[in-house]
């Protein structure tokens, strides 16, 4: 009877956890698709190679090898240990205990031993990461970009990962003590000693069997409920990168970094102005130049925003951030995500977007930030998950200049020089080759 009750509770919890997660992911997908259409389906081979190198292989992370190795432990640990969750889920549904142990035999021991070692590596790595964030206080982690929720978010994730791993090890340790005491179904499913939990077991040797069962079962339940809860926390957190790093690598921009996206609409307008005979009778000027709000950005820019894990490698490399300017590429991504969350909610409530008097430009990202960018591509180069803050910055600049005529006076002078003198400075075009008349 007890078994059946816990099976039912388990199934309900798992279904609710997975259902809520799926609903939230569908919502995020919908939000991303409020962005402009853009084609990223070309060159599938190069794209799969990026998935392999950048997402699975975490190539960019290895620009700093020590941190990359620690990060790889957490990543591998998390992915691989989740194989063990499969057993937990099946045990939970079927009311069994360590279902795979008799089936896999010595392979089972090997796997659990490997998981336990990984669990220790995850704990150590997460501890180092907590120290880097909170004690050593690396510059990119104490930046004002992260004030408030984002800084706590990062710590919650690291602490949760440590707790989940400790639950797993404690579960195995108490299981072993119960096996050795010959207690109930623990003794009926002997697994033998595992490498890490075996060392922890003596800590629990003096406890009563009843207490041990309570600890073992609590760890089992908290481990799986923790995972379900964590899974549902993910899509509200910066940690979503563990999933979106993969599609983001696939849809990464394959053009040379220096190449700005063309605006075919403007290209056509200029062509028709120069050669009116080519203009179709029904030519309509584009509705919008550049991006004012998230709807004007491409869906890829919005996927970027959800993929950002706020690590700040972009801002640490940014010449503007480095020299105390208002611009921080990480903030560009965080603002974009905050805004698309807001517009998404607006659309859900109102059926369609209802003007809220706000836009990404101005209300989230200021003119001063946009003006500070040197388009140097350092942020794009550093991003481990192939995000381009630069693309967003440039689209917003286009809106500023072409829709609002909002440019510093010096830029207006530069524009008029280019237009009239064919050079950004005020020189006579007739003097362009004057240097040829001079001596070397």
């Amino acid at each position: 009877m007890m078994h059946i009750v816990s099976q039912i509770i388990f199934i309900i919890a798992a279904a609710a956890g997975i259902g809520l997660f799926a609903k939230r992911i569908a919502g995020i997908r919908k939000n991303i698709l409020t962005g402009r259409d853009a084609d990223y389906a070309d060159q599938p081979l190069r794209r799969w190679k990026n998935v392999l190198l950048l997402a699975f292989g975490q190539k960019k992370m290895f620009r700093n090898p020590l941190v990359a190795v620690l990060h790889f432990f957490v990543y591998a640990g998390f992915i691989i240990i989740n194989i063990e969750v499969l057993e937990i889920v099946l045990d939970g549904i079927l009311g069994t205990h360590r279902l795979f142990a008799p089936l896999l035999g010595s392979l089972y021991s090997f796997l659990i031993n490997a998981f336990e070692i990984l669990a220790v590596l995850v704990i150590v790595s997460c501890a180092v990461f907590l120290i880097r964030r909170n004690i050593i206080k690396l510059k990119r982690f104490i930046s004002k970009d992260l004030d408030g929720w984002p800084r706590s978010d990062a710590n919650y994730i690291l602490i949760t990962e440590i707790v989940l791993m400790l639950l797993f090890l404690t579960m195995n340790a108490t299981d072993l003590v119960l096996q050795e005491k010959g207690y109930g179904y623990y003794a009926e499913n002997p697994t033998g000693r595992f490498v890490v939990s075996g060392m922890l077991a003596p800590l629990y040797g003096s406890l009563s069997e009843a207490t041990l069962v309570v600890i073992e079962r609590s760890c089992w339940w908290l481990h799986i409920l923790g995972i379900l809860a964590f899974m549902n926390y993910l899509p509200y957190s910066k940690h979503l990168h563990i999933l979106l790093a993969f599609p983001n690598a696939y849809y990464a921009r394959l053009l040379p970094k220096g190449e700005m996206n063309n605006m075919p609409a403007v290209q056509k307008e200029v062509l028709y102005a120069m050669q009116p005979e080519l203009a179709p009778a029904d030519a309509v000027p584009p509705a919008r130049f550049g991006a004012r709000d998230v709807f004007d950005l491409s869906w890829r820019n919005l996927l970027d925003a959800y993929s950002c894990t706020e690590c700040g490698r972009c801002s640490a490399a940014c010449p503007a951030t480095l020299t105390g300017k208002a611009l921080s590429p990480r903030k560009i991504m965080m603002d974009t995500r905050d805004r698309v969350e807001e517009t998404g909610k607006n659309i859900r409530l109102n059926g369609a977007f209802k003007d809220d008097g706000k836009t990404l430009l101005h209300n989230y990202i200021t003119v001063e930030e946009l003006r500070a960018c040197t388009t140097c591509n350092a942020c794009v180069e550093e991003c481990p998950v192939s995000i381009s803050p630069l693309e967003i910055i440039l689209e917003l600049r286009r809106s500023l200049v072409m829709e609002e005529s909002n440019a510093p006076q010096e830029w207006n002078a530069m524009f008029s020089n280019i237009e009239n003198n064919f050079a950004p400075w005020q020189f006579s075009p007739g003097d362009r080759d004057k240097w040829t008349g001079e001596t070397a």
Partner: protein
């Protein structure tokens, strides 16, 4: 200086092998003109059949496009492409990474497809082919030189090796800054910053970069971009080190050291 102009060659039924795109900095900026002249001097010495557009050259539109003015960029691109296509240009060399990037990456989809190479790569080719021969003991032999990566050459187009290979020909002591290659710090001029005052901050980007360059103890900061050159020269002046630290383009270094 004897510099062939495209319109004259074309009128005489001549076709140069390569168009030298001088760029606005190289044409008008007094400091950058020296780079242009050094490069032309190299072209003349190695007998490359080249020409410039002269008065028919116009701004590529790079600063306008990066500032957000797509209309002006498209107008300039249209005009330049018309001129170059009318001369049946096939190959372009330029000493400006911004012109290089825009001609190579952004003109093709507007109807201007050419083989575009930056002078760093061009000089490397000339050295590799043995067309540039260095003096026995050049002025920069044994000197400590650090190379500053231009963003539009480096990260934008993955050209890191060529300028360093060119500098190796000087037989100098090449040292790297703490931020170099794909990690190189911008000089502060890109994205149309060259034409406006920097936004307010704790320091200027070119001062920061110049500090990094001077930390290497180099007596020459080598660059391959006229704008980087300006920014770093200002940075050195700000430190009042213009007597001990020179900022020179790779073309100037090669021209001074070749036979």
């Amino acid at each position: 200086m004897k510099v062939p102009v495209m319109s004259e060659l074309y009128a005489n039924q001549e076709r140069p092998d390569i168009l030298f795109w001088v760029g606005c900095a190289g044409s008008f900026d007094q400091r950058a003109q020296k780079i242009t002249k050094a490069f032309v001097s190299i072209l003349n010495k190695v007998n490359v059949k080249y020409a410039i557009l002269g008065k028919e050259e116009a701004c590529t539109g790079d600063p306008a496009r990066r500032a957000g003015n797509e209309f002006l960029f498209q107008m300039m691109a249209y005009q330049n492409i018309q001129v170059m296509n009318s001369y049946e240009i096939k190959k372009i060399v330029t000493a400006c990474p911004h012109c290089f990037n825009i001609l190579k990456n952004e003109y093709p989809q507007l109807g201007g497809s050419y083989e575009v190479i930056h002078h760093a790569v061009f000089l490397q080719q000339l050295i590799d082919e043995g067309k540039i021969k260095m003096k026995e003991s050049g002025d920069f032999k044994g000197k400590r030189i650090t190379y500053h990566d231009s963003c539009y050459l480096g990260r934008a187009n993955n050209i890191y090796e060529a300028p360093r290979k060119v500098l190796e020909a000087l037989d100098a002591e090449l040292v790297e800054m703490k931020r170099c290659g794909s990690r190189g710090l911008c000089c502060g001029a890109g994205g149309a910053q060259m034409w406006k005052e920097e936004e307010k901050g704790s320091t200027r980007i070119n001062y920061e970069r110049t500090n990094q360059a001077m930390e290497t103890g180099a007596s020459v900061i080598a660059s391959a971009c006229p704008f980087c050159n300006t920014m770093l020269t200002d940075g050195v002046k700000n430190k009042e080190k213009e007597d001990s630290v020179q900022v020179l383009d790779i073309a100037e270094l090669i021209n001074a050291s070749m036979q």
